[in-house]
Symmetry: C2
Subunit: 143 residues, 2 copies
DNA sequence: GTGAATGCAAAACCTTTGCAACTGG
DNA sequence: CCAGTTGCAAAGGTTTTGCATTCAC
């Protein structure tokens, strides 16, 4: 279960708030991402969406994902050579790639953490986004 | 010019220290990466290597790069959906992707910075590597 | 000599593109 | 109606693979 409303009306509202057409495809793509707390690839999103909307195409899923990322409704996570993953968590957080399970986990950050990270940038550098990725292994139990 | 010795003997020594066969291909791949301070893609490495060793194949370049990364002689940098880049700088540092120029720049970090970053990880998580990537634009002049 | 590395070509993989048909406002 | 979106199929670019040949030790 996600932290945010995910019923029909709420989803459409989110889309409209971003000034994008609330198409059924975008709604479903957004829905399946918000419905879980994981980090699916485009292909996994496609699979989930297909069960609700069998006629959707993979290209449309890619289109919708791009739109949602641009709107800031969903985040992108990039690790190594692996396919791009999508993240429903809009809070400031880092990612931990567990090499044992292959899973990606969210790492909560203290308040203002990202703001303080920016301080390492030399004068003249302005970061619009920051990605902090850990890779390693997690003992079973945590998260 | 790189920070580290890059003549024949020194390169071979580096490879031997990693317990890998010091083949001419590995040596040249390592050389062209250490010779500059930039972040070439596999294709760019291939182009540079070819001028010194015209018979080398792209697959071998990929093999060598993988080996060098595993040895820790070279680092990998991953940004967005872009092709993987390779980095000669073994110091602790972050990367800044300048969206205006498309270039990737090294960002120096204060001592122990990465160690302190690790502290945000919950108990039970052990990170073998950390990637800190900024994206944005840099005013001309810096770096 | 032998296991490892190379070179080549083909395949795999993820993602993008072109375009005709459709649709939401 | 009309710009924007979809669905499909085909192309694109990067990386990997299979296998015969060659090489470093």
């Amino acid at each position: 279960m996600a932290t945010t409303p995910k019923d029909h009306a709420a989803l459409l509202e989110k889309l409209r708030a971003c000034d994008v057409r609330p198409t059924p495809q975008r709604e479903v793509v957004l829905k399946v991402i918000l419905d879980k707390r994981d980090h699916p690839t485009a292909d996994e999103v496609f699979a989930r969406v297909k069960s609700q909307m069998p006629t959707i195409s993979l290209a449309t899923v890619y289109n919708c994902l791009d739109t949602l990322v641009q709107c800031g409704l969903v985040r992108q996570v990039n690790f190594e050579r692996a396919p791009t993953r999508y993240c429903p968590n809009l809070e400031e957080h880092a990612h931990f790639h567990d090499e044992t399970t292959g899973k990606i986990l969210d790492v909560e950050l203290p308040a203002d953490f990202m703001a303080r990270l920016r301080e390492v940038l030399p004068a003249g550098f302005d970061a619009s986004s920051i990605e902090l990725n850990f890779r390693g292994s997690a003992k079973p139990g945590a998260n």
